[in-house]
Symmetry: C2
DNA sequence: CGCTAATTTGAGTGACTTCAAGCACAGTGG
DNA sequence: CCACTGTGCTTGAAGTCACTCAAATTAGCG
């Protein structure tokens, strides 16, 4: 009863979510949308909260309403490797659900978030009933796979300097800049390092260099991308 | 007419392929199997031949009957980054078909191969008609995505030495050993380097070291994995 | 044809350089 | 005050370059 109340209360927000959500849900019939609505549950997560844990079974996937989270794997000595970020409209955790494996990544909140949970059973039902939806989902995973392949090539062949420049550009793509060209996401130097696949100190030094070269500007965690063509050049794209 | 003859002629072989092929086709109805049979075309490729080319549009996917090919991306200065290998029973090229993007990798034959081509239209039709098939396909891509994530973490965090040891173990998983513990795939040092993401010379030096340590044995391109537990230890798994 | 000669390709070594990791420590600011 | 940022210094891993050697291909040519 309590649960139902909660769901009802959240429907208006999630309505938006489902409509925007990666256009993944755009091919659902009204009835199918209702099923998703009825089955889901929304939760609020604070910075630092973990949505799902590497190595655990997850029995559904998540649709991000608001907030930002990092999706990472834990490698040697517990060092995080950030695979990607998720933000408004992204869906996370579906890889493990579909492949019926344990979660191979952890999702941790970086900026306070509202996230919907949709049980596996509903996902499987949609796949069974709606080929257009399956197609959307496949396209999503295939695009992610393509990006993963790019990332592998970059990390294997580029220098740390090139990769850092590239990551800054990717973050720009994902989170955008404000009027003052400030990246609209706040990451620690360590988190940047865990994306680039390098040491925190290296990130700090290279960011300083970029700043000295007038390519970026730094104010704490606020990074302004002043000269994007120069960044592209450094990133060797 | 010529085409039909060719297909008929190849049906017996492909029958096998479709039955074995990653169990991807296991949920097809007899009629659907027939459609695939009728639409496909088989070709023989020699070592060095390219099956599809990075950046090109491909209008179908491939099912490997026999032979081995490397799937790679071209990075800085034309340096190859091998993403994975494909062998008997694997399907390749479907990522680009499903995501409707250009091919992001190249597939080049390492050992003479027989490969079937199945047009996109047939693939899309199967996705439309057969949810169980869609599910299989999704599971395949999701598993690949999981592996890609692992690879990213390894390449970002492990040393070249650790990665080389790991790659040898992965090659063992994929291609097996013979009675004399010889890896059943023949790669140049450069190809090994392009998997590990390092310089050819580094691979040569490290292989010598492994040999001196009694972990492996070398006879040209034949690599014997003498001490697998030791390899696992070096690979830091 | 058949049999060298010439060229290419891959494996391997050594010397040198450089990038980036690691450590220690000093600010700094929420 | 503790996590985060920043700096200097050192060391080591791995990349680069230059070269040799062996095997495999291809060309040349009587």
């Amino acid at each position: 009863m309590e649960g139902r109340m909660k769901n009802l209360q959240n429907v208006p927000i999630c309505d938006e979510c489902i409509l925007k959500g990666h256009r993944i849900f755009k091919d659902l019939t009204p009835e199918q949308l209702d099923t998703v609505h009825f089955g889901k549950g929304c939760s609020v997560y604070k910075r630092g909260n973990i949505i799902y844990h590497e190595g655990h079974r997850i029995n559904g996937f998540y649709c991000v309403q608001t907030g930002i989270m990092k999706i990472y794997k834990t490698g040697i000595d517990g060092k995080e490797q950030i695979i990607r970020f998720a933000r408004e409209g992204d869906i996370i955790g579906f890889r493990s659900v579909l492949s019926k494996e344990l979660a191979c990544t952890t999702a941790k909140v970086i900026e306070d978030a509202v996230v919907c949970f949709i049980p596996s059973e509903n996902l499987f039902q949609l796949v069974r009933e709606n080929p257009a939806f399956s197609m959307q989902l496949m396209q999503l995973t295939c695009r992610e796979l393509g990006e993963a392949n790019n990332f592998i090539t970059d990390i294997a062949q580029k220098t740390v300097r090139e990769r850092l420049a590239e990551i800054l550009l990717i973050l720009m793509e994902t989170f955008g800049l404000d009027a003052k060209k400030v990246l609209q996401v706040s990451l620690t130097r360590e988190e940047l390092a865990n994306m680039v696949g390098t040491a925190t100190e290296s990130v700090i030094r290279l960011l300083s260099e970029f700043k000295n070269d007038g390519i970026i500007d730094l104010h704490g965690r606020k990074i302004s991308l002043l000269d994007i063509p120069a960044l592209k050049k450094v990133s060797n794209m």
